[in-house]
């Protein structure tokens, strides 16, 4: 297949783009329970089912716990399975997230990031997927509607290659509900890219030679399974790179593990996830015009953590701020901060790192907010001291 150069442009919200991607993939089974702000994904997909535009079996379960349980049952039976959720929904799935990854089932879940209660809030932050970061799921974060759409296709390939579930994250309301002019891929090319799913083994594959899945496992074997799972996660990094490279070659849009912006000669940088990256890039452009050497590092792949790549990207910088849209409630900065700081520890001449927690529960993050973080970083460089290592901003 030649590179698809004449991608059709469409104005789509993040939710409708993800639903469209799911329609084009036409998975075997979709167990789903609606929750704000990802509801429209399930609603739109339900109408595709009702109109016969897909022949996916939709299971309208009674909770997110059952959504993930049914996903596990269906994936174990040999089906290609996709679902979507947010916030409390992901929290209710928690137990089953670990079981999906432990059973090595390549389920693809779109998580539209939303704050966790209490207090209850429907707007964007990353506390939901950050909490799931150790659940054994590959996590891809998406800056735009376009990337959310593209990540869904890549997620299917990555999941099925490494036999691990993959979570595609995008920002609630900011990305899920904003209309963006984006390029779509033809149905034929989607099918060609994702291919047929033919698992090596499954519950239903060979009834004459039945298998048991989910056996009680004691200290003699449990750790062996976990080691294999850990190795699969390590392998996932290379697979994300390979699949992203193939995607770029076919569809012309390049995605790395990280997205560096103006980092080459930068003195200071902000490290960040998802939609706030764009806002930060505007601040970078404006500050660059004033002569400040500032840049941005966006994390696209957070699980597995591309720690060596993060260290390489931040090498030579003098100060870095990690912006977390979630708190670890550890009095020691957000999750991104801790992991980035740890990633660069072995650099000979490592930058100072500060933690800034922003935008919780949908609080706005503006260009001025990014600028003031850069100003703080430049001051750290100037004085050589960090006055406040962790701080809430946008408050």
């Amino acid at each position: 297949m030649a590179t698809e150069k004449s991608n059709e442009m469409q104005g789509l919200t993040g939710n409708s783009a993800v639903a469209l991607a799911m329609k084009q993939i036409n998975p075997d089974v979709c167990p789903a329970y609606p929750i704000t702000p990802s509801t429209a994904i399930i609603e739109t997909f339900s109408s595709y089912v009702a109109d016969g535009e897909v022949d996916t079996e939709l299971i309208t379960v009674e909770s997110e716990h059952s959504a993930m349980s049914a996903s596990i049952g269906a994936a174990a039976a040999g089906a290609r399975v996709m679902t979507a959720t947010s916030s409390q929904g992901l929290a209710l799935m928690w137990e089953m997230l670990y079981i999906a990854s432990g059973l090595r089932l390549p389920i693809v879940l779109t998580n539209v990031n939303r704050a966790l209660a209490a207090p209850i809030n429907i707007h964007c932050d990353h506390s939901d997927s950050m909490g799931a970061r150790d659940s054994g799921w590959v996590q891809l974060y998406s800056e735009t509607v376009q990337e959310s759409y593209d990540n869904v296709f890549m997620a299917v390939r990555i999941a099925e290659k490494v036999r691990l579930p993959v979570m595609v994250c995008l920002d609630g309301f900011i990305t899920s509900h904003a209309i963006e002019n984006m390029a779509t891929i033809s149905d034929a090319n989607v099918q060609d890219f994702v291919g047929e799913y033919t698992p090596e083994t499954s519950l239903l594959k060979d009834m004459e030679n039945p298998i048991s899945i989910g056996a009680m496992t004691l200290p003699d074997y449990y750790m062996t399974f976990k080691k294999q799972q850990s190795e699969a996660m390590a392998e996932a990094k290379d697979v994300v790179e390979e699949v992203s490279a193939e995607f770029a070659q076919k569809f012309g849009r390049e995605y790395g593990l990280l997205d560096s912006y103006e980092l080459e000669d930068a003195d200071v940088a902000i490290v960040i996830f998802n939609s706030a990256t764009g806002t930060t890039k505007v601040a970078v452009d404006e500050l660059r015009k004033e002569g400040f050497k500032v840049g941005v590092l966006r994390i696209r792949l957070f699980r597995p953590l591309p720690h060596a790549e993060i260290a390489a990207a931040l090498k030579g910088l003098k100060a870095v701020a990690c912006l977390d849209r979630a708190d670890s409630f550890n009095d020691f900065g957000g999750p991104l901060f801790n992991e980035v700081r740890s990633s660069i520890y072995d650099l000979e001449d490592r930058p100072k790192v500060i933690s800034r927690i922003y935008g919780l529960g949908g609080r706005d993050y503006k260009v001025e907010d990014a600028k003031s973080v850069f100003e703080e970083l430049l001051k750290v460089v100037e004085t050589g001291t960090v006055e406040e290592m962790t701080k809430y901003i946008t408050i």
């Binding site: 379960v61 040999g78 079981i99 989910g214 056996a215 009680m216």
Partner: protein, 311 residues
Amino acid sequence: MANLKELAGKKELFTGGHRLCAGCGIPPIVRLVLRSTDANLVASTATGCLEVGTTIYPYSSWRIPWIHSAFENSAATISGVETAYRALKKRGRIPADKETKFIAFGGDGGTYDIGLQSLSGALERGHDFLYLCYDNGAYMNTGIQRSSATPMGSNTTTSPAGEVIPGKEEWRKDLTRIVVAHNVPYAAQASPHNWKDLEKKAAKALAIKGPTFLNVMSPCPLGWYSKPEDSIQLAKLSTDTCYWPLYEVEDGVMKVTYKPREKKPIEDWLKPQGRFKHLFKPGGDVIIEKIQAQIDREWERLLDLEGRQIF
């Protein structure tokens, strides 16, 4: 319906060598139910005795495809498996030559309590599956904690018979009635001592398209403080005392499938079980009377519904 010789000649789908206790009601129930159909079977099992006792890795007692994912979701898990079957069959990815049926197993903990929502959802959605609850009346796998199926007066580790509180104070939840309220095509109560009745009900449930339910009395020597060799006799006494009535509701019609010629007093069932020992001490008679009255009321209610269209 198969006779005993035919049943015995069928392929063993649940092997020996499992780790369930001597006298446990679960293995005879599962063995019999797996023999009650000629269709291919796929099963899910909630976390609990049946799961732990049959699968410690790398061993498995299951000669059918089997999955366990967690405690509260046997029904949701089988929903996924059954739906995948339909999806893959539709798309020609699995052979459709032989009929495949689906069973979800769970104990009373995984069914009456933590798994009730998942069960209700799967019944309402109309998946083609049989849910079988083995009801031994407490969380036996984790050391005899009370469940909502625990009989009133029972001594468990979380409803101990103490100086002030005489064991469990509440009547057990009537789960079969709750399932019937989902208007499923078939729901029944059975007991392993009456293998003929159990086999007939399982065969019927598995032949019906749509969600069906069996609630099966399952003696537990560990949690009942009873002798392993008494288990089947205790199962029989649970029906002869009408503590555990055998009945079925098929297409909304109630049929009591066993009426003891002489209804025995509940003491006959309580007395051989150590979990009720304290009820036979001074003052316990009040509780026994209460239990008897409740059983009588329930039995009369059932007999009154006999032969009637109840939904």
